[in-house]
Symmetry: C2
Subunit: 361 residues, 2 copies
DNA sequence: ATGAAAGCGCTAACAT
DNA sequence: ATGTTAGCGCTTTCAT
């Protein structure tokens, strides 16, 4: 398929000599090249290159001489040119599809900072379900990104996943069920078991469940960890509901389904669902007898007005492990990295109910 | 400064013939080059280039022949190589510093999608105040990004701003007070005037104000629009407070300062502050007599549990204008684009009070 | 309209 | 340890 490039016309025009150079478009002199710098200080061009390449054989005298000159003359190596020869870009493609969920901005922010600290740049791909995914991801290939990190891109089917990742180091975050790509994921099983344990210990026995996507790997794992532990402890599953989304509204609506079933606790597949649930439960005046748990520990979970008991996803650790894997010398076969989070006990599982958390005080 | 390249070793290995090919590391044959494709179908290499360059002089016969062959053989032009000759990257550097505020993820998501739809890639820079900003932004220069979009990067001082934007098309979003860079910004003045008008019409007269940053351009404009309109309408400013942050907690705490001053409405510089304020006001049992307004219209503002009256920032329009400016043929001198938002009237300014919004029902 | 040839600014053999 | 040379895969004159 031919992809026409929308900027092309602009380029074409800006390439001609006829346009006026406007004030902002400072008739920027081309940046100094290594050859020019070499001429200026009377060394070979390759010396310049070596000076900027750690571990290359160059005397520290020459190197510091060159680096100082570079600073004085304002020389910086042109990354594009070196990409061409080395076939390395130091760019990681970061693919996201769902920024609605407040969990992702935090993950994304830390990920880019982590990559940045490791000298990697993030080329950002935000998949909108509207257009062709292949079109949206074409830059992964034409720009030759070194690696791809896919953040829970449930919109990518198996085929697109393969297309996007093939031939490059790839890591799937928060997505399960792919044998041939390395994944880094929170320990969902442990998380949901902990939550159920906590509910058990605080005396809850009739549990409802609100799912997000019931078809995704993570969704399935969470649900099955939940039900398994429930059964082990002899607790009762009074009902489940889903709107096939991880949104506040989905949480609100699903909770409406469950309240008539008289649960004494509702477990939500994620925090944002739980926040919606809290609203419904409050409206129904049931905050005193229905406990609520979430998953993720997004910032809002700890707002006094919610004080949601949840399981914290180890974002820091996920990011660190991801960067580590990206930088690793030897990659080996695809691996499954499962990182432990932490149970955050707050008001919504208080045995006495949480009707007295601020908003209703 | 020498930047060591973390992915180097891996690539070095994958380049030699000695490494073991692991399962993931599909012994990827180098992608086809234009020269190779040319040889395959018996045309010149430049013909290939022309086929992919709209507006170049090539017969449509030859072009379609080449494009079909490209599809069959899986040829894609190497963007890196063309960057080197054209000195254009089609990459926009997107600089963010504050992803805490839930307003930015939405803006960011739409911006990348907008850029993507225009054939531009987003290289993401998330500034953490810890490290050297210059270090964090060095890729803007070495990667030769075509343009820079800076999203309310209050952490960038004037000098860094100049350094990051010089020599390239640059746009500042949501930041004011810079004569020499084009800005695209919501009409803060109109917004705050509308909010005050609305409070006036609904009978409020004793107004408190909670600011975010009091030193930023946007912060000043918002406050001054607010006070100006207040004075015009003869309303009373009972007090102001700030914690120098746009966070839920800052909103909560600042509101504690204002309640003793007996306002009948509090105007918040942003939604996230207002949400914190709502919490404090509820705790104080004053929801029936203190109206609340925000600014931004983040998703949470419309949650039934908040139902916050606010002024919607025209995110769609801001993004569209930004992309338009980035693609424009002729750029001219720095401009100030001010886009109108929309007053969103919800429960928190109901004359009867909002004590009955769901959480306290 | 097409082909040939000369770079773009760097890295990486290959010499010395 | 340093310099010389040959590309990386394109775009772009310049011929024809």
């Amino acid at each position: 398929m031919v992809r026409s490039n929308p900027l092309m016309i602009w380029w074409a025009l800006s390439g001609t000599g006829t346009r006026q150079v406007s004030k902002t478009e400072t008739a920027t002199a081309r940046p100094l090249t290594s050859r020019q710098l070499a001429a200026l200080i009377g060394v070979s061009q390759s010396a310049i290159s070596r000076a900027f390449t750690p571990g290359s054989s160059i005397s520290s005298d020459l190197r510091s001489k060159i680096l100082m000159a570079a600073r004085d003359y304002g020389y910086r190596p042109n990354a594009i040119a070196s990409m061409l020869t080395t076939r390395r870009t130091n760019i990681v493609g970061v693919v996201v599809s769902d920024m609605q969920n407040p969990f992702y901005p935090a993950l994304l922010a830390q990920l880019t900072q982590g990559l940045q600290a490791a000298g990697l740049q993030s080329l950002f791909f935000n998949i909108s379900p509207g257009a062709s995914i292949e079109d949206q991801l074409h830059a992964i290939r034409t720009y030759n990104v070194d690696a791809v990190v896919i953040i829970s891109a449930t919109v990518l089917n198996e085929r697109m996943l393969t297309w996007a990742t093939e031939g490059r180091r790839s890591i799937l975050l928060n997505r399960l069920g792919h044998e041939d790509i390395t994944t880094v994921c929170c320990d969902n099983t442990l998380g949901f078991r902990s939550l159920v344990d906590h509910l058990f210990e605080t005396g809850r026995r009739r549990i409802g469940y609100v799912a997000g996507f019931t078809t995704s790997g993570v969704g399935l794992v969470r649900y099955s960890a939940f039900t398994t532990r429930l059964a082990e402890l002899g607790m009762r599953l009074v009902g489940t509901s889903t709107r096939q989304a991880y949104t506040h509204e989905a949480g609100r609506l699903s909770t409406l389904d469950l309240i008539p079933l008289e649960p004494d606790a509702i477990v939500y597949a994620s925090d944002i669902l739980a926040l919606g649930g809290i609203e419904t439960i409050r409206m129904a005046g049931r905050a005193k007898d229905i406990a609520v748990t979430g998953f993720d520990d997004i910032p809002m979970a700890s707002w006094p007005g919610y004080s949601l008991t949840t399981y914290r996803q180890p974002v820091r650790e996920i990011v660190d492990r991801t960067v580590e894997l990206l930088l690793a010398t030897d990659i080996g076969p695809p691996q499954r990295h499962t990182l432990q989070g932490e149970l955050m006990i707050r008001a919504t599982t208080d045995p006495a109910g949480w009707a007295d958390v601020p908003p209703s005080a």
